[in-house]
Structures are given as C-alpha cells and as structure tokens.
Amino acid sequence: MIPQAYILEVTDLTKTFSGIKALDAVQLHVRKGEMHALMGENGAGKSTFMKLLIGLLTPDSGEILFEGASMKATSVHDVLQKGIAMIHQEMLNVPELTVAQNIFLGRETAGGLFRWLDDSNRNKQAAELLAHMGVSIPPDTKMKHLSVAQMQMVEIAKAISNDVKVLIMDEPTSALADAEVTILFGIIRELTQKGVAIIYISHKMDEIFTIADTITVLRDGQYIGTHPATDLNENSLIKLMVGRELDRLFPESTTPPGAEVLSVRQLGRKGAFSDINFAVHAGEVLGLAGLMGAGRTEVTRAIYGLDPLHTGDIHLKGQPVTINSPQDAIRLGIGYVSEDRKQLGLIPALSVKYNITLGSLSNHADGGFIRSQRESTAAVDVMADLQIKATGPDQPVVYLSGGNQQKVVIGKVLQANPVVVLLDEPTRGIDIGAKSEIYKLIHELKASGIAIILISSELPELLGLSDRVLVLAKGKQTALLSKEDATQETIMRYAMQP
C-alpha cells in the first residue's frame, strides 16, 4: 500500500502547568486512514496531549499542522468544524435527550412558520447512520436508557455525522464486552478504509496489536518514539513505555492461608444476588469472577454496609456481626477499595494527607482535636510505604495520576488496620507500572495475614493473584474453584452459566 499523506503533523508541542512540563516537545505524525495508537503510562501526558489537539487547552509552544496548514485551535467547536473529534473516556451526552437529538446536538434543523424542530427527519438520518454502522439502536430512545457500549456507538455516529477526518478514542473498550469490542473494531476498520485517521489510546496490549498500524509512545511528558506496530511486541512496547524491564508481574505466593476471617452464608439482596456462601482466610486472596452485572460489586458493597442485605449473615472471626453502614464495617476491620475511586474513593479537593487519614482521623486526634503533627507523620509514612508520587502531602489529590490516586485510597483503607480488604477492580484505568506495584502490595498484605477479596475483570490478573476463585453468574454463585482448577476457560464456562 502506498503511504497516504500526513493529515496531522505535530512538532515540538510543549505545555507547562504551574512550572511543571506536562508535555515536552512531543511529536506525532498521523497519516490518512491510519490506526495510530498512542501509548504511555498514566501521567505520561496522553490526556494533556489530546486536550491540546481538540482545543480544550492551548499549547505553550510547538506547531500543529492539519492537512498541511497550521492549526491555531481557538475552541473545541473550531476543531470539530475542521474534522477532529474525540470520544471521551467519560461519556459526554445529554441523558434526557434522544439518541438522534444527541447525535445532532448543536446542529438542529428547523422548518415552518414557527421554526418547529425537525425531529422526524433527524430520527430517520440517525437510524440510517446507525444501521450503516451495523448497530441497532432506536434513534428515539432516550440516551439514559442505553448501555455504555451503545452510548459509545452513538458517540461514534455523532463523529461520523460530523464528517470526521481524525477521530480520537480514549480507552473506548474499557466498559465493553468482547462481542461489543468486535463490533467496535469492525467500525474502526471501516472508518480507516474510508481514510479517517484514528488516534487510539488504550492500556490493553492485545487490542493495540490487533488493530494498530503505528504506535507512538510517550513517557513522563517526553516523546519516546514512533514505530510500526509490526516492529514491536508486548515486551518491547512495555519497555518503551516504562523505560525499564518490569519485575515479574505476579509475585509467587509462599504463605499458606491461616484461620478463617470472614464468612458469609446465604447472603442475598433483592434484585442483585442471592444465596452467596463463602469464607476467606487470613493471608488468602479470594477472587470474585463473573461477567458485568453478575453481582460481584454488589456483594462487596453489601458486605461493606453500603447497601442493605435482605437475607443471610456475616461472621467475622467466628462471631456473627451486623453491618449497617461503612462505619460498622470499618470498626469491625473491613476495608473497601471501590471500583469507582472518583465517586467513592476520594475527596478530590482535599489534600493527599487529608484523604489518607480520613477514615482513621480519630486515631490522630485527642478529644476531637486533630494532632496535626501526628496526622502528618502518618500520611508521610503511608506515602513513602506505598511510593505515592505527589509534590507533597498537601497536594490536592485531584492532581495525582490514576495509579497514585488508587494508592491513596488503599493507603486510607490500610490506615484503619483492617483484617479483611475488599478490592473491587483495584487496577482499573491505571498503567502497567502502577499495576505491578499494586500486585506487590496485595502480596504484602497477604503476607501480613490480611484476608483479601478481589474483583477483577482481567482474568490473567485474577488468576495470577487469587488462591481460590468464586464465580458468579446473574447474581448466583456457580463455582468455587481452587487455584489448580481455575483457568480462564473454566471460569468463563461457569460465568456464562444461566
């Protein structure tokens, strides 16, 4: 194939935030019809880079050429007009409007004496567009009734209807099931054949090597290099991204599990799960496997007291306990790291220090008065132990990278000296370097005799860390597998059971 002309050429793009270079002389050359993956750990500067491209931020220096002409991005709207669109990690849509209204948002057509909105025509156009993409979503459905995957399709439809030339996708598959990923990849291939260039951000290696033509790597805001995907493999790419060889991802487990710490019997919650029975021992990792909606998160939320239980009982170290709130759970020694750290894990405006001590503040206080010195020491210790990278304990946690934010949440949970820790997708959305640190941490917790319940949708991770795996399907438990019996195939077989 003859190489197409460059549609987007970025040279020496630099952006500084309060004296710190988030991006330092970054390059990117994207050809027409190319599937170009942008790789880097969290905090490498990918998001900042994309924000510069779509006009959400203005660069300090450097040049962006679009179709050979210098692009002075003044607003997101301008950039969109030129044909650069982005599908965001967090869906940006109007939930109360219909699919068609969302697709044509800002480009409504109206006719007649009273300028009636022309919804029926738009519905027809939207239906054609979606049908062409091979997805069946009724255009008059309200956005809020769609699944995440469907919303994603609508976002893509919106971009196509805008006559997009460069489409930026930020972790588009993070919430998709395998079948949906296949559909998405089909759409991507069709778009590239039509000459649309795709800039694709993902942490999933297998995806990158499945569909990417070219890979550009960033590290710590620096441009590392651009390579044809065929010149790289998983290991060489990771090496480029982290700048070093990774330690063995899953450390070998040596300590045998100890006494039973937490057990649940006939646990049930209406509309979520029923008849759940398991026990977890000191120094053991019990993995919870299942498809989306199988009830894994719901089980851990209920154990932690975030949602009420309707049946069953919980024993902690042999004693029956009642847990009506997270407060009860923490008091009993149960810690919880949510899958949604923005919603349930962090107070964004508060500092790293305040977030770390939030769950155990009374340990750093006398008679209700906070002992600042004691609090600071504790926070600094946690930051050192967990290698949390921040400008200092007083930096607002919102400015930290995903991996470091996750460590803050874990640090907070550990401050309360738990005997059981519930980890719900602890590595979601964090880069490989931070992942391996979290794996190591899980092993340290194990070694110290903490019982761990782990939820992960990444099966290699779940298998690598768990001593036993409980499989859930549609709110029921279908198998409790030993480490020897647990393979990706058996887990999937039990997870798909009715």
């Binding site: 309060s18 932690y304 975030l306 709130s325 997270p326 407060q327 759970a329 923490i330 008091r331 919880y336 949510s338 919603q343 349930l344 894990g345 962090l346 107070i347 964004p348 405006a349 508060l350 500092s351 305040y354 939030l358 769950g359 503040l361 009374s362 206080a365 209700g368 008065f369 906070i370 600042s372 400008t391 200092g392 007083d394 930096q395 607002p396 907070k412 309360a416």
Partner: protein, 328 residues
C-alpha cells in the same frame, strides 16, 4: 485584626493556596483595605474610632450568622431559615427578660436552646428525608416566622431588664460587648473548622458525600451538627439583636439569611461545598459592612446601596471563578 490575615507562610502554605484560594483571600483583603483607604480619603468621618466601632457592631450580627452558614455551605447545604431563627430566638429570650422576673441567664439559655432545637430540627429533617436543604429550610423559614408571631402575639416585646440589655449594648473595658463576642465566636468557629475531626468531616462531606460515607464518616451526624451550629449562632445573633434594640421583634431578621450567605460567598465559600474558611467569611462580612457604611457616609440612598451590594456579590464570585480557571 491579626486573625483577619491569611495564614503565615509555613509548611502548609501550598495547601492553603491551592485548596482555599489564598490568592482569593489576599485579593479580598486587598479589596477591603483599598476600600477603607479610599473611604478615609473621601470622607474624614470614615476613619474615626467612633465610626469603625459602628461598623464592627453592625457587622457582628451578620458575621455570627455567616459563621453558622459557612459550616452549612461547606457541607454542601444551605440554610434559609436563619433570619426567622433570629426572630424566634429573640422573641423567646425577650419573653423571659422582663425586669424583676428571672435572672439574666434564663432568657439567654432559653434563646440558645430555642436556636439549638430549631437548627437540630432542620438537620434532622434534612438527614432523614433526603429532601434538599433549600426546600426544608424554605419551609422552616416560614414556620419560624409564624412561631415568632405566635410567641409574641404579633406584638413587639419591650420593657426588658437592664442586665439583658447590657448583653448586646454594653461595653467591657471600653469595647462593645458585640465586638468581644464576635472575636470569641470567630476564634471558636475557626478552631472547630480547622482543628477538629468534625471540622475535617465537614469538608469531606461537602467535597464528595459518597466517598465520605464510604470512608466511614457519619454523614448524618455531621449534617445534624452543622445545622445545629447554624441554629445556635442564629440564636446568639437573635439574643444580641434583641438586647441591642431592647425589644423582642417578631419581624426581626428578615432577609438576614441572604446577607449571611452573601458574606460567606464573598469570603470564598463555594456553594457547591467542600471549600471555605471562617477568615474569608469574616472578611466578607466586614467588606459588606464597610461598603454600606461608606455609602451611608456618602449619602447614597439605600435603594442604590442594594444595587451595589448585589453587584459586589456577583463580582466576587466571578473573580473567584476566574481565579479558579486560571489555576487549572
């Protein structure tokens, strides 16, 4: 006033700057000093001990209410009933403050108790019902006004004892009692907000209620505490006002809630919760006081004063949000 100054540079400087808008507070302080300087240049009557005393006395009632509302807004709530609470507590106190009836502690305790119960009722309904605080306190604002009229049978309660009238109208070592009480309340509220566990919890609840709950923070208790504090401070203001005007007025305090909220907002408290300081609120109240005093001295009619005050509230928030945008 030393306490009005931003925190001295120390290890925690960064956190103050980033989280609570140190620049914003400096800006406020500069604006405040600038206005004071301008007014003393324009009118010689401004910078006199007598006039400054007048300002602080006038400011003190609003500042006390604003301290209460600052706690509430930091948790992401709002309280519209504090003006009515001023009336209820004032009337309740006045009913027991006639000469030669009860010792002066009785009306004071009754007034404070009324405010405490009223505030706790707000907090209880808000935490139990999950009805937005705006609606709940809109209701209790009307209820409170009605209660004040019922308690007083619709008439002002006058003929109060000298010792009661001293509370808000007297002087201690030459300093008006109002100023002394204001300073004590300011220090107390600042310490509570910055140095105690419950104060930290207020920021957490306002910053992200769900995460606060998941961190084991007793959300309901925190809210109950802030609305009760709001009630207590409103009661303090109600007693002081009643004492100062030597009458229990069922119509007192109308619109006070808006002035108090304005002081908190001008002082940098975000209405979306999670940020705010007592120092900022005090500065906000002082700024409002100085401007209205200045306009008085310049013989600007009260109609125009309202327009100016409204513009200042919007201006302060616009400046603050511009400041925030620059930082991001």
């Amino acid at each position: 006033m030393k306490n009005g100054l931003p925190p001295s540079p120390s290890k925690t400087t960064l956190s103050y700057k980033t989280r609570f808008g140190r620049l914003g507070q400096y800006g406020l302080l500069i604006a405040f000093l600038g206005i004071c300087l301008t007014l003393s240049l324009i009118t010689p009557r401004f910078f006199t001990v007598q006039n400054l005393m007048i300002i602080v006395t006038q400011v003190s009632i609003n500042a006390l209410l604003a301290f209460g509302v600052t706690f509430i807004i930091i948790t992401g709530g709002i309280d519209l009933s504090i003006g009515s609470m001023v009336a209820v507590t004032g009337v309740a106190a006045a009913s027991f403050a006639h000469p030669d009836t009860y010792p002066v502690v009785v009306p004071v305790v009754i007034g404070l108790l009324a405010g405490l119960l009223f505030g706790a009722f707000n907090g209880f309904v808000i935490t139990r019902s999950h009805v937005p605080p705006f609606i709940v306190t809109l209701g209790t604002m009307t209820i409170g006004r009605g209660l004040a009229l019922i308690l007083s049978k619709g008439r002002p309660i006058s003929n109060l004892s000298d010792s009661f009238n001293f509370i808000g109208g007297g002087k201690i070592l030459g300093v008006p009692t109002l100023i002394v009480i204001l300073i004590v309340a300011f220090i107390g509220c600042s310490v509570l907000l910055k140095k105690t566990v419950i104060g930290r919890y207020m920021y957490a609840v306002g910053g992200n209620e769900q995460a606060a709950r998941a961190s084991g923070i007793p959300i309901g208790k925190v809210k109950l505490v802030v609305y009760t504090l709001g009630g207590l401070l409103a009661a303090l203001a109600g007693i002081l006002l009643t004492s100062r005007i030597t009458t229990g007025q069922p119509n007192a305090g109308q619109g006070f809630e808006l002035d108090a909220i304005a002081a908190a907002i001008i002082g940098g408290t975000s209405t979306s919760g999670g940020t705010g300081t007592m120092t900022g609120t005090l500065l906000g109240a002082l700024l409002i006081g100085v401007i209205s005093n200045g306009l008085d001295l310049l013989n600007v009619t009260s109609y125009y004063q309202e327009v100016v005050m409204g513009a200042i509230i919007i201006g302060a928030v616009v400046l603050d949000s511009m400041n925030q945008t620059n930082k991001n």
